[in-house]
């Protein structure tokens, strides 16, 4: 796999656009998923993920190959997401009620239309709840938590994606999951 990636990267560097299509195919789900978990909105996630790939293409010469291509790609994507979150911070929340509706939030707009069996509904609610709680985490904890548990990265990889020392990454993961636990417990009790 790694040698395939490297050969595609080399081809892109020498001006082959089709080779880049291959790279997008390989990483699109991962990058899209990360963006979605970061910003919590499908349209925005699609836009961010596409932008991440475009930037990777434009700056391909800056990728030196001293670490994995995926690490580089994740770094571009997380930085884009964090920038986007910072820009919209004060005035935009998924929890906000949509004007002209009764109690509908953007989350209900995102939700799947397919009818689900009873216990699956419960399972899904739980997960939606978790996604909401993840969304409420400060972005520095959120990034670390997502890379660790959704993308299943090692601490070392996360450290190079976030450009932070390993102990700092570890602390952020611990604090992040601690915060999630507290929020989750509250939800469970209120049910």
């Amino acid at each position: 796999m790694d040698s395939l990636i490297n050969s595609l990267v080399t081809q892109v560097k020498s001006g082959n656009r089709e080779a880049f299509e291959g790279l997008v195919e390989i990483y699109k789900d991962k990058i899209y998923r990360l963006c979605y978990r970061m910003v919590g909105d499908r349209h925005e996630a699609e836009d961010l993920a596409q932008e991440a790939f475009v930037r990777a293409f434009v700056n391909i010469d800056k990728y030196s190959g001293s670490y994995k291509f995926s690490t580089w790609l994740y770094r571009i994507a997380t930085n884009l997401c964090i920038d986007r979150l910072r820009k919209r911070k004060p005035d935009y929340s998924m929890d906000a009620e949509i004007p002209g509706t009764e109690g509908a939030t953007l989350y209900s707009q995102v939700a799947d239309a397919d009818p689900l069996p009873e216990d699956e509904v419960e399972e899904k609610e739980k997960r939606d709840q978790l996604q909401q709680e993840i969304m409420k985490l400060p972005e520095k904890y959120r990034t670390a938590i997502l890379l660790k548990y959704i993308e299943d990265m090692s601490l070392e990889e996360i450290s190079s994606v976030m450009d932070l020392p390993v102990p700092t990454v570890k602390t952020r993961i611990h604090r992040g999951r601690e915060a999630l636990k507290k929020a989750y417990k509250k939800v469970a009790k209120s049910r």
Binding site: E21, E46, L130, I150, H174, Y184
Partner: protein
């Protein structure tokens, strides 16, 4: 009942990070049997992690790759020469220098048709009308002698180098040159000569 022991909190973190040793795990398990708060803490975190990992799979929307390819800037603007310049800045600088140098010297070859003599010596005969320089018989010229666009007759002795650019050198039987002597007729020779004098600063006025 709440457990305030930092030690067990650290053990829980270690267990969840997969860094716990068998001994520590045993110790933590024993503690959790009696401590409800630590047990609850550990299982709640474990559940959250499980839930996150199991979170319904998200896949990129349809036509994602197609749309990315559409958004890419048109055929990379930086063409081969530009890449080459970025990769080899020193070589590029040297090449540019040589081209400019060659160009200005070439221009010199084509335009400088004036008769000129460069020599420190006073005892040479210069005939500007006939474009001829003569080193008289019995005289000794000290230092280098450069003649541009003219001929030279060496009847005496030159203690130094003689260079004739776009001209002829005639040696009398008694004539003598102690240094190098050179006639330049071709552009290439001219360029080489100019480059040499540029770098060694040997050209005399």
């Amino acid at each position: 009942m709440s457990c305030v022991s930092e030690e067990y909190m650290d053990l829980v973190d270690k267990a969840l990070d997969g860094e716990i040793t068998a001994e520590e795990q045993t110790e933590l398990n024993r503690h959790m049997e009696s401590c409800e708060s630590c047990r609850e803490h550990y299982h709640a975190l474990k559940e959250i992690i499980y839930e996150m990992k199991e979170a319904s799979p998200v896949v990129a929307p349809a036509h994602f790759t197609e749309n990315v390819m559409k958004r890419l800037p048109e055929a990379k603007k930086r063409s081969m020469p530009a890449q080459w310049i970025r990769r080899y800045p020193v070589l590029t600088a040297a090449a540019v220098f040589l081209i400019l140098m060659f160009g200005s010297v070439m221009a010199g070859w084509n335009t400088e048709n004036d008769f000129a003599v460069h020599s420190a010596a006073k005892n040479i005969k210069v005939n500007s009308a006939a474009h001829t320089v003569t080193v008289p018989k019995g005289e000794t010229v000290k230092g280098d002698l450069v003649v541009e666009n003219g001929n030279i007759n060496v009847e005496g002795k030159v203690e130094g180098n003689v260079v004739v650019i776009k001209g002829e050198k005639y040696m009398a039987s008694a004539g003598q040159i102690t240094g190098d002597s050179q006639e330049i007729h071709e552009v290439v020779e001219w360029v080489w000569y100019k480059l040499k004098t540029f770098f060694t600063g040997q050209e005399q006025k």
